[in-house]
Amino acid sequence: MELDSIPEHARKRMDQIGAGDLVVGILAQNGQVDAIPMIREALQTLPGVPRTVVIQNNGAPRPASNEAQAADHNSAAEEQPPFVVSWRLSASDPLTVPVQNMSEAYDSIFAAAEKLGARACCVVASNLESLTSRWISQLTQPLLEMDFDLVTPCYAHHKFEGLINSSIICPLSRALYGKRIQNPMGPDLGLSGRLLEKVVGTSSLAKAASNRMHPLVSIAPSAIDGSFRICQSHLGTRLYPATDWTNLSNLLAQILGPVFLGMERNTVAWQKTRGTQPVAVFGEPAPLSAEMGAVDVHRMLESFQLGTRNLQDIWSLVLPPGTLLGLRKLAVLSPGQFRMPDELWVQIVYDFALGHRQRTISREHLLRAMTPLYLGWVASYALELETAGGSAVEQRLERLALAYEAAKPYLVSRWRWPDRFNP
């Protein structure tokens, strides 16, 4: 599929290497951190030390001592494993580039892993400063030792980190596809050779039909739909990229666009799914970081109120009158009383997904117009959990996930009969 996007020198290098049991893709770039020693350390914990190929992104300069650079020029025969292949996987750093732009990088790694006939493939896209050998072993062990097909990550994060995932992606994916996966879109994950084959095949077909989808969006639904074995691994702390507030609407549009598109492609799969099941979890959960104390949500509330004043015309194209009324009532509350009910938030997400499907307005406009609503949810969540501890946060997110599940019949009904009266 994406073999064409792999440069000639990298393809020659892969031909030299021949085959690999395990392919580790390192998407993130960090001039100060060398991932190879960590991978080598992780390999010692795996049974029979698999023949490993590391694919590195060399879009940014790395330390001169980096073995990868030297390894590129050596023949595979002289080299000590893991074998390293590096090329420019993405033009920029994946930590700052929206997920959509990383699509080709993931596809290239998957294509390379398939070419090498890998039994397992893991991709690390998070900041390398948080990478430890444990990450690699936790992502690969279930694939190589326990015959799992997909390993998704569980991170030890602060309650206000990974908010798009907590508020939309995780509970939406859980309600739609019926598996309780904490981070269905990774970005760090492990795939078996079998799943890899399916993902690569699906992506090739999609590309041929020129309707390709972001691989991170399609991996978990593909695995669930194909009855592949899925598990989660606790990786530890992840360093989340800092928020660029001026670019938040762009970020939201780039993440939610593929998610909503995925809903359209997998309609049959999620409409027949009833209820949810937990998936196997490996590793010890790391404790959550310390309390942050009071948070300032003034800017987010201001954005929500400004949106309520000015974007009613646009929202009314996708949201029913009852939801709009709820938003108007919410906008006049003082910060102390400001709480967005889960039912309201879930209905907003579902209605935006429906609006995206029906193309009621330009999809770009639709997704960007969701930003003040999302900030309203974040503000409400932050105010509610300002002083809450770890278990309270988990309970809160569980309540939200249940609200998504409870409202699924509404989504299914409106998806099937969009013109039906909706108060």
Binding site: H157, V295, R359, T360
Partner: protein, 233 residues
């Protein structure tokens, strides 16, 4: 003398009657043409209405952002298209009926009408696209400005919308050759006036307002520092 007067009266009556009799077929033809055109228009309108309703024309137009609904009777573009089709057919029927009176006059009328038609179509297209672009830009500006937390988001959006609409109307009028010079001049004055007024407002009139606004922005604590705990991806 009475005989002569009676004869003159009879002759004028005869002339009038013969003229009327000469016109009668034309009038009948006009009425028939109008009746047939009305019948055809009704049938066509029915077909068009059913077809457009079948393909959910109104919803599709709304989805594409075309602003036809606002200018349509009962806010239904389907109804607008149906009525336009009916009236065009009736107009054609009227022209056909008119041709039965004086073919030369009608052909001259039709010729000048058709010669002007490209201008009308061009102007309509300019207006339509101008409107679509204006609405699209206005919506983009509104969403962008709200996401940037600008309090005057709506004002910006409306300003952009009307600037583009005024530009489109000026272009359409020029296309129609209606007061070309006047329109150009008026547009120049209006556009230049708006820019000049804005420059004056910001530069002089709103000097203090802008100063206060800038001071407020500068005195705001750094966003990064305040909202640091929030990580979205």
């Amino acid at each position: 003398m009475w005989n002569q007067a009676r004869q003159a009266l009879n002759e004028s009556m005869g002339r009038l009657l013969s003229q009327f009799v000469n016109l009668l077929p034309g009038i009948v033809a006009l009425i028939v043409a109008l009746l047939v055109a009305a019948l055809v228009a009704w049938v066509l309108a029915l077909i068009v209405k059913r077809s457009l309703t079948g393909i959910r024309f109104d919803q599709r137009l709304a989805g594409w952002g075309l602003p036809l609904a606002e200018w349509s009777p009962s806010k239904s573009p389907t109804l607008l298209v149906t009525r336009v089709v009916s009236w065009v057919v009736i107009l054609i029927g009227f022209l056909i009926g008119l041709a039965s009176f004086d073919a030369a006059l009608t052909s001259q009328l039709v010729h000048s009408l058709f010669a002007y038609l490209p201008n009308v179509l061009g102007a309509l297209l300019v207006l339509l696209f101008g409107n679509i672009i204006a609405r699209f830009l206005a919506r983009s500006v509104l969403i962008g400005a709200v996401n940037m937390n600008l309090q005057y988001a709506r004002l910006l959006s409306v300003g952009v919308k009307w600037l583009v609409i005024v530009l489109a109307v000026a272009m359409a009028l020029e296309h129609l050759k209606i007061g070309a010079g006047t329109v150009q001049l008026a547009f120049g004055i209006l556009f230049g006036g708006i820019v000049f007024a804005l420059a004056l407002a910001v530069g002089l009139g709103s000097k203090e307002l802008v100063t206060r606004s800038l001071e407020r922005e500068a005195s705001k604590p750094s966003t990064e520092a305040v909202e640091e705990p929030f990580r979205h991806i």
